[in-house]
Symmetry: C2
DNA sequence: ATGATTAGTTAAATCGTTTTAATCGAATGT
DNA sequence: ACATTCGATTAAAACGATTTAACTAATCAT
């Protein structure tokens, strides 16, 4: 298999036949013993030992492709992501890898960068390569899949697919309770761009939880993001706009960390200090969140764990589990840092 | 291959034999035509058309494993990384993917997290799965590899391996020239932890370039990092220490962005403003660098491109190229942001 | 007309495993 | 003593594609 020729060494690859000949048996017997298949039942221990010894001595490695051709098992899954290498997908993929590793599975990764044509073509290619299941990351899949599939933050509910999502309810509880404990009563909110896959879910959860804990959501303290600026200035214009309304507030729940950074800049330009005058809480816990000054209090999406859970659920299905949930909600964590503090006594 | 049963549909998988029968020919002929192999030379166009039509009609997909069993080609490479999901490896992997995609290659990823035993075991498994070459990311490989191999930031020079490295010389030129143009003369330096794979190379280049452009390196303005704190506080204690020496300076070339952030904090605590009093330049361009206040001027490692170059070099070798360089240096870019400015007139 | 070419296709070997059916001698039951 | 079961192993048929050698039938040269 493309080995660099090392002269002066036996060039023949050690096959099942080779080890069989080496001890005067046939491939069938050797195969049965090495896989200790039921048909090896009646083979005496003595012979088994000889076989194992020979296999070890010759350093026999079964040919993966020959084996797969017979068995149809590849112990490989496919990961389809919109993007890799960014701070959202890569911790997820890392989580997937962590789990697969301990189960001796491998994965093939493909990236479609929003292109639905590529998505189809790649799914096709993955299944030609015998993946036994698929995990999609932040992707819109339209057709019911041919293979067991787990979606992470899937954009669409599809039957046959388990969707791994963040528990938005819990996220809202964490954030709002934190603010409440710090005695904030006038809280401003940023709503995400409705095009983003879970902006609506996140907002609905905030409304529910706010009502439940008796926190008012004032429409005049609410702004709606309607751009998709990927830079940290994302939140800036919206907070500028909010400030023109002259409505005082002591805390801001940003849509995410990215927008929180722009928001803080806007607040500071207005002479408001964070967190002394206004507390700001973000969402995601992006790598920069800990480095920023002030470092951001935020609701962390446990991306790594989402990957692990996805991989685990997928392997369960591959290994025959018949019933499975249509959704698994993952609990976020609150990370308290410098950007939130006790509400000022008078604002 | 694990397909979910779709009742009322032909369950039989379309094989070469199936399409051959469908038009009354033999598998051999069909195979020859579909791969237009030399032996299809004497087959009339008319027949070829029929074959292609039939293959299309039946939606024939060659079985990857059967094919590989014969040909030994898998169009798959292995990527071995110390870690994935962090901001160093993941852009590299993304770059690898970008290149492989357009060449219709796939890749398997394994992570060894520093464990040399795992590293060996995984290399073994990868080659059993027929990868045709390997890219290592930030990994120490000790033995000369059996397959064509490209190392990205390989820790050790090995014959037969092409090492993709950053052009440290160029990095030093970019950073020091930038400072020189801003009229900085008293420049402080942080040397990296010597355990880090390229701390020494980076420092050597700085010395060479400084000499060439007539910039003095004052040992009293040089500090040595000797911890491997992975947090942004990395640089903090060393700059504190530097400040106790009471030697004035107008610029600091940090070891990397992470340490630059801690350095800035230390400077600010001393009442020094960045960049008005001291300019700071980092290295890497980590995701947080653009978000920090002040945003960091830095020398960017083009990680994405390093991945692409690695993949390209590897495919060249897989496809038969005999001579290859032992090292490819990648040019960094200077990213000018807020943390550097004209040197103050009197310090 | 006869042998040599050529065109068009097929049969069969091969890749390396797994698995089922078959074999053959020894032991067992009655 | 004969059929039967058991124990240990083998032969052979898959799996699905590729490739080489072989085989017709038609064509060509002489």
């Amino acid at each position: 298999m493309g080995q660099i020729e090392t002269p002066g060494q036996k060039p023949s690859v050690i096959t099942l036949k080779a080890v069989a000949q080496h001890i005067g048996l046939t491939p069938g017997t050797v195969s049965a013993v090495l896989n200790d298949s039921p048909s090896a039942r009646s083979i005496p221990q003595e012979t088994k030992n000889r076989i194992h010894a020979a296999a070890k001595e010759l350093n026999y490695r079964p040919n993966f492709f020959a084996r797969t051709l017979r068995n149809k098992r590849t112990y490989t899954i496919g990961v389809i992501a919109e993007e890799i290498g960014d701070s959202y997908s890569s911790p997820i993929i890392s989580g997937i890898e962590q789990y697969l590793r301990q189960r001796d599975y491998f994965f093939l990764t493909v990236v479609h960068r929003h292109d639905p044509v590529l998505l189809n073509r790649y799914s096709q290619m993955l299944s030609e390569r015998g993946v036994e299941g698929i995990i999609t990351v932040d992707t819109t899949v339209n057709e019911a899949p041919l293979l067991p599939t787990i979606a992470i933050a899937g954009h669409k509910k599809l039957k046959g697919v388990t969707n791994i999502v963040l528990d938005h309810q819990r996220a809202a509880v964490l954030a709002l309770n934190h603010l409440k404990e710090l005695s904030h009563e006038r809280v401003a909110f940023m709503k995400g761009n409705p095009l983003s896959s879970d902006a609506q879910d996140r907002w609905d959860a905030i409304c529910t939880v706010a009502a439940a804990i008796g926190m008012k959501i004032d429409p005049e303290l609410t702004v709606q993001i309607d751009t998709d600026d990927p830079t940290p200035m994302l939140g800036y214009p919206f907070i500028k706009q909010l400030l023109t309304r002259q409505k005082p507030f002591t805390a801001l729940f940003a849509y995410n960390d990215m927008s929180a950074i722009g928001a803080i800049r806007a607040l500071q330009e207005q002479g408001l200090r964070v967190p002394q005058d206004v507390s700001v809480i973000g969402f995601d816990d992006i790598p920069g969140a800990a480095f920023y000054t002030p470092s951001l209090t935020t609701v962390r999406q446990p991306l790594n764990r989402m990957g692990e859970v996805a991989a685990q659920s997928l392997l369960e299905r591959i290994e025959g589990k018949k019933e499975y949930p249509s959704e698994i909600a993952i609990e976020p964590e609150l990370v308290v840092r410098e950007s939130t503090a006790k509400a000022p006594s008078f604002s």
